[in-house]
């Protein structure tokens, strides 16, 4: 067994991005999260719903900071979030009494489902987890959780990504749709 040999790694970390990349990532993330956050206070508050969930912070890293990644493409963002949300709600309904079991089931099944459907999106794991550990306000939504906040938030983040990333001279987004 060569476990320790494999642990040494084989290559080096990729180069730092240029400063214009840093600026565009900042602008995109600021506008994206701002839009989702303000949507919450403008519209969703009236129906008492939480639009800004933690996993959107992670999505912002991808769709504004690593836009060439397959993980950051529209198919993955929307598919990954919505499918994981459904898995999360289902896991809570099946095993919600035992939080650790429901949480583990939610995250692991979400990853497997995203793999199979070619929608792998890391923040989806958080979306599934939040469905279990997000408290009563999330639990009360039931499967609606997959539409609002998850689906709507993901669409808003994507809309900002499509505009901002294509305004930047050296960027283009997306790499693919389907």
């Amino acid at each position: 067994m060569n476990i320790f040999g494999k642990m040494k790694g084989t290559t080096q970390s990729p180069p730092r991005v240029g400063s214009s990349e840093v600026v565009w990532s900042w602008i995109g993330a600021f506008l994206g999260i701002a839009l989702v956050g303000s949507f919450q206070s403008l519209i969703v508050d009236s129906i008492d719903r939480n639009l800004l969930i933690g996993s959107f912070g992670a999505t912002a890293v991808l769709v504004y900071g690593a836009i060439r990644s397959p993980l950051a493409q529209p198919r993955n963002v929307l598919g990954g979030h919505v499918l994981s949300a459904i898995v999360g709600v289902l896991s809570f309904q099946i095993a919600g009494d035992i939080t650790w079991l429901a949480a583990a089931l939610a995250v692991s099944t979400a990853i497997a489902l995203m793999h199979v459907t070619k929608t792998l999106h890391p923040p989806g794991g958080a979306t599934a987890l939040i469905a279990v550990i997000g408290g009563d306000s999330i639990h009360n939504l039931g499967y609606f959780y997959a539409l609002i906040p998850v689906g709507l938030g993901a669409i808003l983040l994507l809309a900002v990504a499509l505009v901002v990333n294509n305004m930047a001279g050296k960027r283009r987004y997306p790499e693919f749709w389907l």
């Binding site: 060439r68 990644s69 397959p70 993980l71 493409q73 793999h115 790499e175 693919f176």
Partner: protein, 197 residues
């Protein structure tokens, strides 16, 4: 000329198959990989061409033939050293030509595109040994001259251009006075591309 230096064209299918062979999830699209590949290919070519000098990749010392050698001696010399061609030097040791299998074949009346199979085929059908005609001839009669040679500080870019422009397969590397220092073959040039990265 430009076409020969284009990177090996990868198709999207090649890349997808390669990604599948890696098994795990690879966080890059085939399109991005292709871009990185073609840019790094250009960079590698530029680096190799601008940095490489003939002396770094030449085989030295080089086995030379004397122009007064008979073809019989020349053939056994080349066979003994496992080479298919060599620089020819004059009495003073200065390179005055290059000899290769091609020159032998031409002398035997075969087209320059001929190979060992043409010799075999010809011998079996005509039923006479083509090679016997080579007896009593000397290296200087059939060698290619004047020799196309390069200096030890010639860049590999220029060497590859000489290979292409003159359709030759080996080039002697000489010092200022024309004394042989080494030799570079096409395959030397190819393997030099795979050295340090």
């Amino acid at each position: 000329m430009k076409k020969q230096c284009d990177p090996l064209m990868l198709t999207d299918d090649d890349i997808l198959d390669a990604m599948q062979a890696l098994q795990g999830y690879v966080d890059i699209t085939p399109g991005t990989f292709k871009e990185i590949y073609s840019i790094s290919y250009d960079l590698a070519l530029k680096r190799i061409r601008s940095l490489g000098k003939a002396e770094e990749i030449m085989t030295a010392p080089v086995h030379c033939l004397n122009k007064e050698m008979s073809l019989t001696e020349a053939a056994s010399f080349m066979a003994e050293h496992g080479i298919s061609g060599a620089p020819v030097v004059d009495g003073k040791g200065i390179v005055c030509g290059v000899i290769s299998e091609k020159d032998f074949l031409r002398k035997m009346g075969l087209p320059t595109t001929a190979g060992i199979m043409s010799v075999v085929g010809e011998c079996l059908t005509v039923n006479k040994c083509l090679v016997s005609g080579l007896r009593d001839h000397y290296v200087h009669e059939i060698m290619s001259q004047p020799p196309i040679s390069a200096r030890e500080e010639t860049t590999l870019a220029e060497i590859s251009q000489l290979f292409t422009n003159h359709s030759i397969n080996r080039i002697p590397i000489c010092n200022m006075d024309g004394f042989p220092l080494g030799i570079i073959t096409r395959s030397d040039l190819v393997s030099s591309m795979c050295q340090t990265v």
